[in-house]
Every structure is written in C-alpha cells, then in structure tokens.
Assembly symmetry: D2
Homo-oligomer: 301 residues x 4
C-alpha cells in the first residue's frame, strides 16, 4: 500500500479519477439524506484491479460527509448519529461482544479522538457478566496509548487482550490524516480493512487487521490533521502557476502522486516532515465529533 500520498481517506484517492467514470475493480455507491446535509459514499474495493487503482486493500470504505460536523448545530446531531449507528451495525454484522479501542495520544489534542470516544461509551461487559443483562451488544473498551507512551506496538496490546477475553469483533477509533483541508473534521470513514495506528499524526505503526487480530476489525476514523508535505503538495499547483503562468500547471501534471509528494517533502525543512497542521479550535472539534461517535455506538447497545 502506498502510504506516501499521505491520506487515510479512500474518498480522496477516488478523486484522482474523473468523478463520473467507473473504476475497474471498484464499486461506488452514494446516498444523500433528505435535507442534503449528510452524504454517505460506500466504496467497495473488489479485487486486485481495484487495489492497484485505489492503492487501498480489498474491502469496504464508508465515508460519511457532513459539512456541519465541525459546527455547533444541534439539528445535525440526531440524523448523523443515526446514519453512523446504522453503518456501524452493518459492518459489525452479527458480533455481540465487542472491544472498542480508542487509539491515539490523549495529550495531543487532534490525536485524542479515540480516547475521548471511549470516555463516553457505556461499558457493559462487566455488568453483563455480573448480572446476566441482555443488551444487544456487550461492550468492553481500552485506550492503549501510543508507542512513545508504552514502548509497545498497539497491535501487540490489542492482540493480547482479545486472546484473553471472549470478543466477536474489534472496533478501533483513531484520528486520521487528510490530504486536503476540505474534509478535515467533516468526514467519518468506516472500513473493514483495518487501520495503521497513529497515522493521524504521521506515525505509521503496524497495521491492525482482521488477519493479524484473527477477528473482524471495524476501523472508524476522522481526519483531524494534514501533514506538512501534503499541505505544500496542495499549494504546489498554485505556486507553479504563479511562477510560470504559461506552463506551471502543465508541468505539475507530469508528476505522479508519489513524485509530487517527494517534491513537496524536498521543499520543506526536514524538521517539518514530522509536524502536522490542525485548526486552532481543534479542542472543540474533537470533543464534538467524539461525542457523536460515542453516542452512535451507545445507541446500538
């Protein structure tokens, strides 16, 4: 998989293609709700053709876009929770006992999404053991922390826990990186193909997948940061145009995504490659979006 292009969003990869043409090996479906506020795109990568075209493994990528997700709008809250809950239910299939892992670093605001979701979850596993309750879902949860805090790959922590408690499926929640500011804090991506923890802050750790966890994995991610090279990449066409109005944009088209990204990396100071870009009000945004996700999970318990 090509991590260089610095986006965790399947929907951004799909944009490399003309919007109305079919992509071989990829199935795309779009649902828009009544008042036009929520748009759900379901991308199925079906085979190797699709993998090559999109640079993402075989599986389902559900993107829920909601322009008002990053705004304080009570109205959007209920329908969004409903849509998200319904997509989560689809992906977890008939799993009953679920471990929710809130990935990320609680102390770095844009990376605290996962832990904040877990903070608001209704945890039922211990109650169901003690009182034989009959919830639809039995929820347990963990915030494993990040490598700099634990010295351990997240996948090792989660694997160990799943081997010791009976679990039917794993939901992992993490902050993601987007290529463009347009989708930042406005998009929720769900996938059954796993996740690479910490990609939101530019760290790529060992993947957490159905294969290495030996049970279904549903990843829920929200792009909360842009990497610095992505940002420069983003500005490159405009700058090229500014410096060479005749050929600037044309020249840029000659580059592959990877070449562009390498160029962007070479244009920024080395320290900057390890930095991220995030909005000033990221504390409010992460708080609000994490609440939406926890309420969606709580609503299907």
């Amino acid at each position: 998989m090509n991590r260089n292009i610095r986006t965790d969003l399947a929907i951004e990869l799909r944009e490399n293609y003309e919007s109305d043409s079919a992509i071989e090996g990829v199935d795309i479906k779009t649902i828009i709700n009544e008042d036009n506020s929520i748009k759900t795109t379901i991308i199925d990568v079906l085979d190797d053709n699709g993998v090559n075209k999109l640079g993402k493994p075989v599986g389902t990528y559900i993107t829920i876009e909601c322009t008002e997700l990053n705004e304080y709008d009570e109205g959007i809250h209920e329908p969004l929770i409903k849509e998200l809950a319904s997509q989560i239910r689809t992906l977890i299939k008939d799993a009953r006992s679920i471990l929710v892992a809130g990935l990320g670093n609680r102390s770095v605001t844009p990376d605290s999404l996962g832990p904040l979701v877990v903070d608001n979850l209704m945890i039922t596993r211990h109650l169901s053991i003690e009182y034989q309750t009959d919830n639809n879902l039995i929820i347990s949860a963990i915030c494993p922390g990040v490598m700099a805090q634990t010295g351990i790959e997240t996948v090792e922590i989660l694997k160990g826990i799943c081997q010791n408690i009976e679990v039917d499926a794993l939901i992992v929640i993490d902050a993601l990186a987007a290529r463009s500011s347009k989708r930042l804090n406005k998009t929720i991506q769900l996938t059954d193909t796993g996740i690479s923890p910490g990609s939101g802050v530019g760290n790529n750790r060992k993947m957490i997948t159905k294969d290495n966890m030996e049970l279904p994995v549903v990843a829920i991610g929200v792009p909360t940061v842009i990497s610095v090279p992505s940002l420069v990449d983003d500005s490159m066409d405009l700058i090229a145009d500014a410096f060479n109005q005749k050929y600037g944009k044309e020249i840029m088209k000659e580059f592959t995504d990877e070449q562009r990204y390498d160029l962007a990396c070479s244009l920024v100071e080395p320290e900057l490659v390890d930095m991220f870009v995030t909005p000033k009000n990221i504390d409010e945004l992460v708080k609000r979006i994490s609440f939406t996700i926890s309420e969606a999970i709580n609503s299907i318990i």
Copy 2:
C-alpha cells in the same frame, strides 16, 4: 486472605502484635537512615504460620516510611528516590525487560497515582528495538484503566500483553487503602506477592500475582485513601471510652479485627461503605509522590 480488615499495608497488620515480640513465621528487619527521615521495614512472611498470623501471603513486604513524603521538601527527595530505587532493584532481581502497569482511574484523584507514575517514566522498549540501545532496563508501560472504564479485569489485560511481548518482570503501581490516617500518603509499600487492583478505592478485583501472570510481579503501592468503615473503626475506641469510661475500652478489646470491622460497617449507612476518605490536598500529594516513584524507576534505567 482476609480483606475485611481494610488495610493493604503489611506494616499495619504487624501492629496488631506487641512491637518487640517475634512473630512465628515472620521475619522483620528495620533500617533507619542517617538523619532519621526514612525508615524501611522489611517483613518476610516465611510460611503458613506467618500467613495465619499476618493474614498476608508468603513473600516480602517492604515498607518505606517518610514523614515528609507528603510535604514539599526538596531535601527529602534525593535520599528517598535512592532508597526506593535500591529496593525496587532488589525485588526485580536480574529482570531486564520490564512492563510497568499504572493501575487506577486517572479521573479520580487519589486513584490516579499509577497513571501519573507512567506519565513520567522514560519509555525505552521501542528505542531499544529500533536502535539497539544498551540500557540496564528496557521499560514498556501501560495504563489499563479500571473495570468501570474497560469492562475487563486488569489481570486479563496485563496477561494478554505479557504473552505478546517479551517481558522478564511486571511492576504494578496502584493506590492503596490504609486503616489509619497516620500512614496516608507517607508510606510506600513494595511486595513480590502481587496486588488486587483498585483496593485503594475499595474495589477488590482479581489478584495480579506471579502465579497467574507466570512471571515475577513487583507491586508498588501508596495508601492514598481510608475506607469509611476503617475510619469509624478507628474512632470506635474513643467513642466507646466516651460513652462508658469504666469499661468502654475494655469491651472493645474483646472484639477481633473482623468483628470490629463488621461492627463499624453496621454503624454507617450502607451507601457509605462504597465511599472513601481522602485529604483535601490529595491532588498535590499524588502528584509529588508519583514523581518520586517515577524518578526512582528512571534512575535505574
């Protein structure tokens, strides 16, 4: 083991006996430092005799008492860290790769000791894998959270992790409950006999021991709370005396520890049994003591 007597401190159990008489099956050694500020008591419970007498499993219980531990005194800092580091080194023997587990609930101040220690640790495991560093100790760490947050017994989480990474020993750090206010936030107890997570706030979860973890376990605990019945228990002699000056205290001597504790429980409203007692400035105390413990561990890396 008799949990009713509501103390996690071996040294408080030892006080039930005349101070200068030997207890069968128990070996006791006391070391006091030069300026009299730090007193270390090493209690070895040797056999079933000792187990019956002290109500604690076979093993070593090291208690470091430091009157100034709960005061802001720069002077005490260095010698205390040194003494603590030396006792930790003794207990971990020749273990090199160590998982430190910061037990407890970060959101309940007196129970946040464990997580705060982990926050200040120098984590080296991932560095030693990546750069082949040659530290004396390879430190990894985890804050597993508490049952109400995870729905999972802490022992299940730790067992899983230890099975997935190579670890020679486990250090668990937790807040404890004391019987008397005299030792609150002034005592550090180390033991190789394991720990029952959450006892500091009166929850007794499944024990974490060398036997069920299948590797050496060093527990470091600091009493940060008193349970409400312990408190009433504590006041009972005085109250008995107040109401019956002739026989009050005599009558109280007739009771066993367990009978006293049951009496105390019956004297408080049922809700109070699930409450704890802690000092008003517990935030400062826990911050300072956790720093001492993390510095002691960092000093032997």
Copy 3:
C-alpha cells in the same frame, strides 16, 4: 452564621424541625412533578427570626431533589434540565449579561463540578460584541481556581472581573458539603444569598455575596462530599445506642448541633478533620451532574 454544623444545604437545616410545623420567619413551599421523580423545595428565610432558626441569611433557598440524578437515566435528563432552567431564570430575574464562575479545583474530582460546568457552556459574550447577536443571555465565564493554586481569594478575582466588564448578574457554581450521605450527588441547591467557595472540600473562604460583589449573585451547588466529622456525627446515635442501649440515644438528644459536632471533631484524629468523604464513582457522578447544569444554562441562552 454557624458553619460548624458542616452542611451547606438549607434543606438539611430545616430537618432539625418537626416536618409539618411552621418555622417562624421561614416560608416553605414544595413542588413535586408528575411522575414523582423531581421534588423542588423553596425555603424563604424572611427575617431575623428565620435567620436564628435556620442559621442561614435572609434569602431564597431552592432545593431540587432527584433520586436518579446520580444514576444513568436518560429519562430524567430532560425534565430535570427544564426544572433547573426555570428556577435559574427566576433567580436571575431580568439580568441579560451574566458571568458564570466555575469555582473549585479541577484536579480534585469531587471539587471539579464548577470547572466542568463551564467547559460545556455556550459562551456568547465575545460573539455578541463582534456580531451584535440577540441572544436572551450574554454569557461569559471564568474558572478562577482555588486559593492553593492562585494565592488569591476567589472573591477578589471575581470582583476585579465584574468591575472591568459590564455584567448584570453573577452565577457561581461550586461543589458543596452535605451532612448526610442521603443527599450526596442527588440534590441541586440554588440560592440568592451567595456562597463561601470551597466549602465542598471543607475550606471556607471569603463569602461571595450580592453585597460585596455589588450585583445579584445566584449560587448553584451540588453536595459532592461529606466532611469526616459530619460522618462521625452521623454515626454517633447508632454508636451511643450500641454502647448504652438504655440511655444512649437519650443522652445524645441533650447535645446541641454544635456540641455534637465538637464531640465528633474530638473523636477523630486531627488529620482527619481536613479530609473529606466521597463515593468511589465520583468521576461519573460529577461528569453527569455538571452536564445537567450546563445544559440547563445553555437552554435559556
């Protein structure tokens, strides 16, 4: 005012009197909602007679009791927010620009109620200045911290701010101390007579009142702790009875409240007087109750 009796709740003082008799100088009204889940008691201390009887200054004391306040019950949420909002609106009268002060220490869980309320408030003052919005209320807010963190009396901080911005009324929110565990985390008290910050954790700082602030002050408080002497006081009848079944309870009736409290203080170790009692799950309780209060204020903006 007699602070010794260690309750901040007017309703607990009222219990010293036979429940159905009128108290001179005090007017009492009780409202119970349809399904019996919320009980509002309005106590008006009318004159010096009332002050002497109740030991509280002239003014209005509104107590909203809700047995389920400390339980996770979605159903109770809406009617409670509505009742609380309606009582706040009554007390602030026609004030439009309001400063909300979240008193207490964010780092000590039962004392973090005030700061948590402020964290969830919709702040509108800066927006109304910039965009001339026409909200009913213009909300500004401050978390002044506690004396140990600032070295400054809270009243000095609030006075300074109120002198520098145009404000019609001050709402102060703080954790309180109750005498009995029955009302802990189940009661919200509102009063127009001011507040002594930090009483929840047993610190009595300079009062914040209409007189020294020179503007209307509405205090909203929730008892989250019991002081240790109150606890012993509470158990004293039972203990007296246990030790002298013939006269125990009779003897206790001879004491005044103050004498009882002094006795209780003398029965506990001196360190314990500076401690407080709180439930183990105080983190969840404070989070839930603070959310109810912030939503009540947000609903009248």
Copy 4:
C-alpha cells in the same frame, strides 16, 4: 506594529538585517555560555528609529536559545534554569509581589504552555498573608483561559485582578508563533514590552502592556507553533528556485516581507489561514519546557 510577518520573535526580525551591521536605534548584545549550549541575545529597541527598523515597540527583548531545550537532556536543565532565572530577575527589577498569568488554552497542546507553568509554581501569596513568611517574592497566579472559553479579553481579566490585590509586577507566560521551524521549542523570549495573548495559535487579542496594566509587565514566551502561511512563505524561495532556476530566487528578493506573506496567504486555501503547524511530540516538548520555566521562577522565590 506589523503583525503580518507572523513571528513573535524579535530575533527573527533582526535576521532580516545583515548579521554584523549595526541597526540604528537598536542595541544588540550576545552572551554564550561556557560549553556553547546556551546563547542569550539581548535586543534593546531604543527609539523610533529602532521601532521602524524592527517593527517592535521600544523595550528589551531577551532571547535564550538552547538547541537541547527540546531534547531530553538532564545536563542542560540546571544551567538553563539558572540563566532564565537571572534574566527574569533582571526584568522584574525590585518587584516583590508578583502575579503570574499562564495564558493560553489548556486543551490545545501547543497552547497549554502557560497553564502548565502555573501548575508547577510555588504559590506563596496566601501563605505570606497568613504566616507573614519572608520570601523574596510573593507569588500569586491565574490561568485566565482564552476568549473562546471565557468570552472576555484576557487583559480585562488581568486588569481586574491587579486592581483588587496588591501587585508590583505581572509576569505573563504564553505560547508564541515562530516564522521558521529552526527556533520552534528551542527558544525562550523575555520582554518588558507586553504581549498579545493567543498569538501562538494565531489569535491576536488586545495587548497586555505596562501602559494598560499600569504596572511592569514581563512576558515570557516560547514559540510552539508556526502559522501555515509562514510555512508556505518559508518554502517559497525553494519553490521559486525549483520553477525558475535562473531568476526564481532573484524574483523573490523583490518582495517585501508583507508582500511575501500576502502571497503566501493567497497560495493556501482560506481555511488553512486559521490553522497552525506543530510537532507530533508537542506534548512532551511543552511539558519539559514549562517545567524549566516554572523551576526558574520557583528558584528566585
């Protein structure tokens, strides 16, 4: 003052000039410590000439640069604290009672520097009032929060407090914005010319100065973020060079700083102007640097 150039560091402005030439109206002195690890630059803007040249008000700007400030290096700790303490002492002159204001938003990691410094300060004002202690400095402190949390300009909060307690000087601590990544988290700037709160995250609130506070103001700042346009500005020479190797760099020299910055702003999407750039490990960096600053202040009490 020209805020457009997006740096709060006087030393970055000074770099616009040839390094060895004198700037009229500006006095510059550099001190390097023995082992070359700490470099202190004292820039005095003397008159209108200097103001015009440097774009900063008349006053003293002390910059302490320490390459290892952002690394975990015990060795650097002590000399840096000493140097910082000595410069603070110079700037506060003979002030004895000092209010320390930790500006910034505790919930946004790079902006939490100020509150973290205050968390570790030894507060002495209330003790000196109660026990007539004779410290050199009487320290009080406040974390006023940011406009989005309070709805109030920080200057209004601080003014009110200073009017109500006797204070000789105000120390304000805040995160700053740098133009280049080279100085990020490696530089401490002290000045007696005041501060514009929130500039670290790109918000420019009303200045806090000696004039409007009516008492000496010492501002201590550390650059923890770069604004997005600054970043693009930074890359512009390289990009210009890449697209036009003959004239690219030459063309860029034609622009004034303001023109460059405007160009950079026009090259990024509008949303990005309200974003900031910060390193992935900002939580560790801010924790370490805030500790250095609090220890420096504690050392002169």
